[in-house]
Symmetry: C2
Subunit: 350 residues, 2 copies
């Protein structure tokens, strides 16, 4: 990494936030509600944006049921609109990516001039869109490994995992190394009991998460299946592995493309190790039977995060002149199923 660091990280490494940081949570659901509540519990000032649950949470606060211990926050800073919130140092984007058309209105009022937006969403290339709104030096990304549900307004059930991988962002996903503000935010989360991993290369970290998300989120919807059913079938084990190989190829191609855009010398360290595929397959075999988040969205007739998880990676690979036929086919199938699913919902609401 030394060659990369010398070129791209001089200004980035020094990015800092003030000694005591205020937080805004956009999207107070299973994910944003959980992390925001833990930060407040640990002593941070946290402001929550709410929509349908606003009245309830304003009156009753947040109730967290968690494998780490249940707790209640009877009073939280609940807000109904972004322009009523105070500007904060760190803005957690915890909406579903299908709501990201709202970000140009939501982000500017809640972000301090020297603050940072931390995108805690699935998929790829969301930071680029956020950078167009707030500037490339005010964006970071976080990958959440969290199993959590919202069970009722203001009620969150944290079932398993909680770790976040943090990475800083620069134009064209130039690798940023470990910046000071990453360490500052990590300190706040770790104070709140959330383990943090620091990634020197956000693009690579996002592709790595897709190694699991692309096959299993996608196929669980198309095949109406749990991870256990898929892993028990030799055809689907093969297909999952082939999809993972396409993700690994996409990561390498888009890492090289990003380097060329940022004027950085090519290197091997923006690639996913091929052994990571077997690690993910073994991990999935050993998991409890699991209904993926995309399958839950589908079953609840919510819009699927098809663009963030499938469309954006395909477009990044295509920029690098790489076709990923199986991922593209899964994307096409999911687009169809998502449209059918939502048109049925509209039909049912009449």
């Amino acid at each position: 990494m030394s060659s990369l660091r010398s070129i791209s990280e001089l200004s980035i490494a020094d990015r800092t936030l003030p000694p005591s940081r205020t937080y805004a949570v956009l999207g107070t659901g299973a994910l944003g509600g959980f992390y925001g509540a833990r930060l407040q519990q640990a002593g941070c000032e946290v402001h929550f944006l709410l929509h349908r649950d606003y009245d309830y949470v304003r009156q009753h606060g947040l109730v967290i049921k968690s494998i780490d211990g249940d707790f209640v926050l009877p009073q939280v800073h609940a807000h109904q609109a972004a322009h009523q919130m105070p500007p904060c140092d760190v803005v957690l984007v915890a909406l579903k990516t299908t709501q990201n058309h709202l970000l140009p209105d939501l982000l500017p009022p809640v972000l301090k001039p020297n603050g940072v937006v931390l995108v805690l969403q699935n998929g790829l290339d969301i930071e680029t869109a956020v950078a167009e709104i707030v500037g490339a030096d005010r964006v970071m990304g976080g990958l959440c490994f969290l199993c959590s549900n919202k069970t009722a307004p203001g009620q969150i059930h944290h079932l398993d995992y909680k770790q976040i991988t943090l990475g800083d962002y620069a134009l064209h996903y130039a690798p940023c190394g470990v910046t000071k503000r990453m360490q500052q935010i990590a300190a706040d989360f770790e104070q709140a009991g959330i383990p943090i991993e620091l990634s020197a290369d956000l693009l690579l970290a996002r592709w790595k998460k897709l190694v699991w998300n692309i096959p299993f989120n996608g196929l669980s919807v198309v095949l109406n299946a749990t991870t256990q059913q898929m892993m028990a079938d030799e055809s689907i084990r093969s297909l999952a592995e082939q999809l993972m190989q396409e993700v690994v190829a996409g990561a390498a191609a888009s890492g090289a493309w990003a380097n060329s855009q940022a004027g950085i010398p090519q290197s091997d360290d923006r690639q996913i190790s091929p052994t990571f595929i077997q690690t993910m397959l073994d991990y999935t075999t050993k998991m409890k039977p699991y209904r993926t988040s995309m399958k839950i969205d589908y079953d609840e007739q919510r819009p699927l995060e098809v663009e963030a998880i499938f469309g954006n990676p395909l477009r990044m690979a295509m920029q690098a002149k790489l076709q990923l036929p199986r991922i593209q086919m899964l994307y096409q199938q999911l687009q169809f199923l998502d449209r059918q699913n939502r048109s049925q919902q509209q039909g049912a609401s009449h």
Copy 2:
């Protein structure tokens, strides 16, 4: 074709059947029952193999409801076992390909020494398996364009189409041209009101039919959709076209491979014209909304013809060193769904 004909067709072109031909029908369902009944109505001696419907048809004969006019055959030659049938000149294989493990027992007793097995099934490479049972010079293939259902024991409803494309078979699918026995069988079917097209290249004819069957049979099951719903969606129109392109590539590669196996010079006439893809897409757009035969099988929890329609074409392409990633992915998805579907059926029968 002149160069091909001179090498491979000298002995094949003269293959003949006796002046008056007897027929056996293996699989007296929507397809075998319809064509067999029409042949008997036109004066041929036809022997029907029946299983569950044997008692009913022996007593009541066959009842055909057809867009061409309804008719009843009060008496037919119904048989319960192949070894009780007389050897015939032409044996129509009208079982589902999922029953083809029965053919080594069924075929030898019903086929005359100079007779021929006419494989009226979907998919590819079935003739090769039949040739291993009865010899390569006693096999032909037929592609049925027929819309027909069995509505009750001995009751068949013919809804639309009826044409058959006939092609003769030689080892490694060497092109056979138009043989005398093709013309003889064509004469019998045309006497019975069934239009016949004669194909000089059975392998090419089978691949051409797959241009439609692979995308629409496969995707209709995976996406739980009619042809109309699929053609109305731009993602699935693109995917169908990409799958068709893979079929066209598979046809070209396996035609070239078959030529090399048969010691025939390479030529362009074993390829599907690229314009055929657009023709098939336009044709599908204009069709009535249609539930494909594979979707009907799936909905009725019957085994899917996954190997004949997907597995065999993939294996032929792989022999020719060609990967077809989208067709392979569809094959893997269908294998999974077929297995799940049948295990649910077994669960339900307990």
